[in-house]
């Protein structure tokens, strides 16, 4: 039975290795400027994790079989080994903390870097169960919004027409266009409950927390249409809360925006 247990544990290790290295699926292809660094950090961590996982499980299986109850012989009577414990602390502490520190680079890029002045501004306003996107228009200023003016059909984000800056704001539903290779500055809001703006291909996820205007930014490197999903449980149709990120050339983007401004 000891051998059977060892084999089962090793089989689990083998199956895991095959599953994570074979052609069984992986992250969706990524198109953002920061995504490669993020995926690389995942892969670095995967190497560390794989080493720890394989060593521990293989040793566990081996010990179970090697030290099974057999006739004769005595157990090794020991209460441990202080050097061994200290070595464990040092090796794991250095490895894990190094990993944590290296992993912060992408985070800092994503959250703490200043944005260039010419970044394209988009405001995301989530609601049960749709995405509203707002562009500031030619004046570069988002107009004032007032909650009591909100009307899902006519004025989904509650634009206040009394504010001149709101006149040229463009609001779209569930379709967010952005120009390729340009910095996009995001402001994320919610009208009702907490949602989470997740674009798998962009390696971007940020909760839209009601009451907050959370800043974010990204840059897309490839044109195309990509899905936006809600990642935070927001109610009944959480699983249907879908939008599209349309990455297009600068000219296409300008035309798209103009078309909607006239509408």
């Amino acid at each position: 039975m000891a051998l059977a247990l060892a084999i089962l544990i090793w089989a689990i290790v083998l199956a895991s290795v095959v599953l994570f290295t074979g052609e069984f699926g992986w992250f969706p292809p990524q198109i953002s400027a920061h995504g490669d660094a993020m995926d690389a950090q995942f892969n670095n961590t995967l190497v560390v994790v794989a080493i720890g996982f394989i060593l521990a499980q293989v040793a566990l299986g081996y010990y179970v079989w090697r030290y099974r109850d057999r006739a004769g012989g005595r157990v090794v009577y020991t209460h441990g080994n202080a050097k061994f414990e200290v070595a464990t602390v040092l090796i794991t502490a250095v490895t894990f903390v190094t990993l944590a520190i290296i992993g912060q680079r992408v985070w800092i890029d994503l959250h703490l870097e200043d944005m260039p002045e010419d970044a394209v501004q988009v405001e995301v306003t989530a609601q049960q169960f749709a995405w509203n996107f707002r562009y500031p228009g030619p004046d570069g200023q988002f107009g004032r919004t007032v909650p009591r003016l909100i009307n899902d059909q006519l004025n989904p984000v509650g634009l206040d027409s009394g504010d001149p800056a709101s006149k040229d704001d463009v609001v779209t539903l569930n379709r967010m266009a952005i120009p390729v290779n340009r910095d996009i500055r995001l402001t994320l809001r919610s009208k009702d409950v907490t949602h989470s703006f997740f674009v798998p291909a962009m390696r971007f996820k940020q909760d839209t927390t009601p009451g907050l205007a959370v800043p974010g930014h990204f840059k897309a490197l490839k044109t195309g249409e990509y899905e936006i999903a809600c990642a935070e449980l927001c109610g009944l149709q959480h699983y249907k809360m879908k939008g599209f990120l349309m990455v297009m050339s600068d000219q296409e983007f300008e035309a798209w925006l103009k078309e909607r401004a006239e509408f």
């Binding site: 247990l5 089962l8 689990i12 199956a15 699926g25 992250f27 993020m38 950090q41 961590t45 995967l46 994790v49 499980q57 566990l60 179970v64 030290y67 099974r68 057999r70 157990v75 090794v76 009577y77 020991t78 209460h79 441990g80 061994f84 414990e85 602390v89 794991t92 502490a93 894990f96 990993l99 992993g103 992408v106 985070w107 800092i108 703490l112 909650p147 009591r148 909100i150 509650g158 994320l188 009208k191 409950v193 907490t194 989470s196 798998p200 996820k205 940020q206 909760d207 927390t209 009601p210 009451g211 907050l212 990642a231 449980l233 109610g235 009944l236 959480h238 699983y239 249907k240 879908k242």
Partner: protein
Amino acid sequence: MSDSAHPVVHPAPTTFIRKWVFSTDHKIIGIQYYFLALIAVFTGLALSVLMRLRLAWPAESWPWLEKIFPLGFEGGVMSPEFYLAMLTMHGTIMVFFVLTTAPQGGFGNYFLPIQIGAHDMAFPVLNMLSFWVTFLSMGVMFAAFFVAGGAPISGWTAYAPLSALGEVAGPGLGSGQDLWIISIALFCVASLLGALNFITTVLNMRAKGMSLMKMPLTVWTWFTTAILALLSFPVLLAAGILLLLDRIGGTSFFIPAGLVVSDTVIESSGGSPILWQHLFWFFGHPEVYIAILPGMGVTSQLLATFARKPVFGYHAMVVAIFAIGMLGFFVWGHHMFVSGLSPFSALVFSILTLAIGVPSAIKTFNWLGTLWGGKIRLTTAMLFAIGFVSLFVSGGITGLFLGQTSVDVQLHDTYFPVAHFHMIMGVAAIFGILGATYYWFPKMFGRMLHEGLGKLHFWLTFAGVNAIFIPMHLMGIMGQLRRYAESTEFKFMEPLQPYQEFVTIAVFVTAAAQLLFLVNFFWGMFKGKKATENPWEATTLEWITASPPPHDNFGGRELVVHHGAYEYGVPGAPRDYVMQTDPPLESGK
């Protein structure tokens, strides 16, 4: 330090009600907690089977299920609100009424006093009260299934403002959510009473000679768990009361100004949804260790007993238990990396989180060290303990991904964390409970469980949980989002449907295997072979008394402890184990 020199023995109760219902005997209370958890775990399991059904075959019609759940399966297809209600109740029932209740309330209550040589808990009436408040709490929680609108759909984390706004935000968020909050508040009170009792008992009621460093590691983990409960449950209690006030008292602790739900302006101002997350996770993260620490103690105890060796690095284990428990209070922010938390504090939470890997690695290495050079007896209990080590490694190590700010961004709220926490705080903790059951059942019920049936249960369960949760990590990497009633709406989740079906089938097999356990359990209670005093040739104090122990635990004996908890294979000793109360060996050891 010691009361046992002058034992105050309660007279044994004579009436049925005092003996079996409103009992103050820690052993009966332990069994009551265990049975409560048993009902809860099979309820929670049934809910997960229903959820898996919808995930694998979302469009399939199940007319026979409509007969059982006419509201949830209208037209035979499970409605998304029913799915979310199942999800909320599965999580809540499992976390509170199974993982918090069985290891601590069940086994802790039964064995902590016996293992330190006490005749009962420090406050027996408080102990009785804490069980009955837990019972009431579970009754209130189960009632949420039956009120108008059904059980809440806001998840076990009950994120505000979804949980704060009432029915306008979705079905089940009316009375169902109220009952949920009241139940959790009651549970917090019960846990506090229990925690006070455990801490006082360990500090004041140890038998003569039972110094802290002679205590079994199980006692250390129950003690540490009680400290965590004492410090974390009050925070959840306060948060629950605030949430209830937001719902019925017109306050806005968690509801910000200017919300518009379905075109209705909500009259509230100034609250913070993030505050709920802080309060919830300040409880929620220590809760993970409340669930898993007792399993670590049990695993250490079982590995030493059945490898016939002392625990490798006992002192390091005690330090690691405490380090895990205390560090657990400083990492709650890693649940909130993408919540809008300050990106600076995320940096700190990330490094502290990975630091928990250090004491966790020590525990793993010491468990391997305990097996090394032993003579391993593969009883069913031992199989589950070895399974625990394997699952602890698999489930714990993926925390290295999720604890990193940048890696978490993509994985957050996918199946990857679902797989991670199920593996570690779900099934590893359950393996601790099952190992403890197979080990202590003879002491609790005076009869042995069937080993053959137990082993079959182990093989199916161990293979099953790995088949369920390892592929789920990959599904998370591919982008499968959690709390989705189905994933058919998104193209990027389309390739995942075969995986959903595979996992569901694995769940069916694993869930069915748990029936073997039920059969074994009830067969064992009435028909099992009579247990001797010490069937496993173990060293700790519960094994020097009858199975089951008499009302005062040791039949009026005065105990003097001379040895550490795990003296197996001592050279020069007359047999391969030295019980804690055996006279000192001649060598002075």
